[in-house]
Amino acid sequence: MNLTNYTDHAGEWLRGSGPHSDIVISSRVRLARNIAGFPFVKRASKRQRHEVLATCKERIVSDRLAPNILWVDLPQSPAMDRQLLVERHLISRQHANASDDAPRAVAVGADETFAIMVNEEDHLRMQVLRSGLQLSEAFDQINRIDDILEDQIDYAYAKRFGYLTACPTNVGTGLRVSVMLHLPALKITGEIDKVRRAARDMHLAVRGLFGEGSEAHGDLYQISNQTTLGKSEEEVLADFQNTIVPQIIAYEQQARQALMRHREAEFDDKLWRAWAILTHARVMGGEEVLSLLSHLRLAVNLGRVNRTDIRTINELFLLTQSAHLQKISGCEMDAPTRRAARARLLRQRLAGGDRS
């Protein structure tokens, strides 16, 4: 297993399967943990960070956790590989772009459902990422991984504050739950601002495709909890599973129905134009592709366009990103060459797809 195997397919989380996968792209849970007796990453000396890295590597890359774990030492990796990992949501931008000699790594499970960043903001940042609304499954998996590691590592923990983290906004459970939602109809109708406000009032964060500070290109929104102290893991999960996500799903569905009822011709036109451009363009920008794929995804979900499928579209969200395009082509490309390669890839993957 190495990174070049990553370029011809997407991870499990983009498979387009799982409950409510028409609107819920993926479910993610992550735990922040630190090793007792060490300063947090930013204040640790280089030697200490190497020690943390070695300790974690030994325990992570053992068959107890899972077979065939891919371990990537990031300082030794080319920038393109690090970018590829960011696009696949396996590491954060911060982890990819830290100074070249900062000792840090990521361990990735064979099907990419789990990834463990070592020496990011905390010693350990572990995540499970699954397609559709599968929060309890994702939590069970991360909890098992946490139990296995905890057997061999003393975590920094205090009675009052729980799991101790570098930033006090993560202290307690260290749990961040997030769902990535595709909300094109709420965007088109302008209702999305209400979702943002409601989320804010419920103490939830709303971010774009690539997390902190990123725009919601492709109408993809990540909603996550911000409270980690004074709330149990189960409470946070139940809020998402039973209240937050079902409500947003229902709202998006209402908006879709309203568009079809009141603006049918205009709406259909928008969807078919997305298909037309995606299958015929010769030059395609990185942001444009996301917004067109978003409309095509909506069209397929509503049965308005049936010449491709959700899995193909989900994969294209990923494969049309810069690092993926360049990895697929096997060479570095400047921006204009990338735009042409992106259009070509789209034509290839979507062409001949007339299934009607």
Binding site: F40, K42, R43, R160, L175, G190, D193, R200, D201, A205
Partner: protein, 168 residues
């Protein structure tokens, strides 16, 4: 140009577009009129980053010297002033060293949460497991009482008593 509120001269901060029977109705309102309209709930929760920044500002202006000269974490040497810069603590002991100034911040950042309720590492020992379990049960009990579910509350109270007997 910034759009003004439909009702007054303040800048509009809430925008909504509704489609009602083919009619598009746009609304642009300021905070106050939006909450009157029911478009916005007056928010007591501020996003976390804003909160941290404000917290840092308040404390830097109120008490310029006290914490910077007085308190450094004995273990890693981090001062509270340094923490203010990037909101990152230096080591696990910082939580003890800065417990008092942190409490305030944590409470606001975590919807009033002040104590951990959740997973306890097995290695932390049975004592802590028990503490957390009790805390969780007491929180449920509290919620039941607030929600006037007295039947559930009575059951939880029995559970807590039994748990306390069993584990001591």
């Amino acid at each position: 140009m910034k759009r003004k509120c439909d009702r007054c001269a303040r800048p509009a901060t809430h925008h909504s577009v509704e489609i009602n029977q083919g009619q598009k109705i746009e609304k642009h309102l300021c905070d106050q009129h939006a909450s009157e309209e029911g478009l916005a709930i007056k928010s007591i929760n501020t996003p976390i980053n804003e909160l941290l920044t404000n917290f840092v500002k308040i404390h830097s202006s109120d008490e310029p010297e006290r914490r910077t000269t007085g308190g450094a974490c004995e273990n890693c040497g981090l001062t509270f002033a340094q923490f203010r810069k990037d909101s990152l603590l230096g080591c696990p002991d910082c939580y003890k060293a800065f417990e008092e100034p942190l409490s305030n911040l944590l409470e606001r950042a975590h919807e009033g949460g002040t104590h951990h309720i959740g997973k306890v590492p097995r290695r932390a020992g049975a004592g802590e497991q028990r503490q957390a379990m009790l805390m969780r049960m007491r929180k449920q009990l509290n919620a039941a009482v607030v929600g006037e579910d007295y039947e559930l509350a009575a059951r939880l109270r029995d559970d807590i008593n039994r748990f306390e007997e069993e584990t001591t």
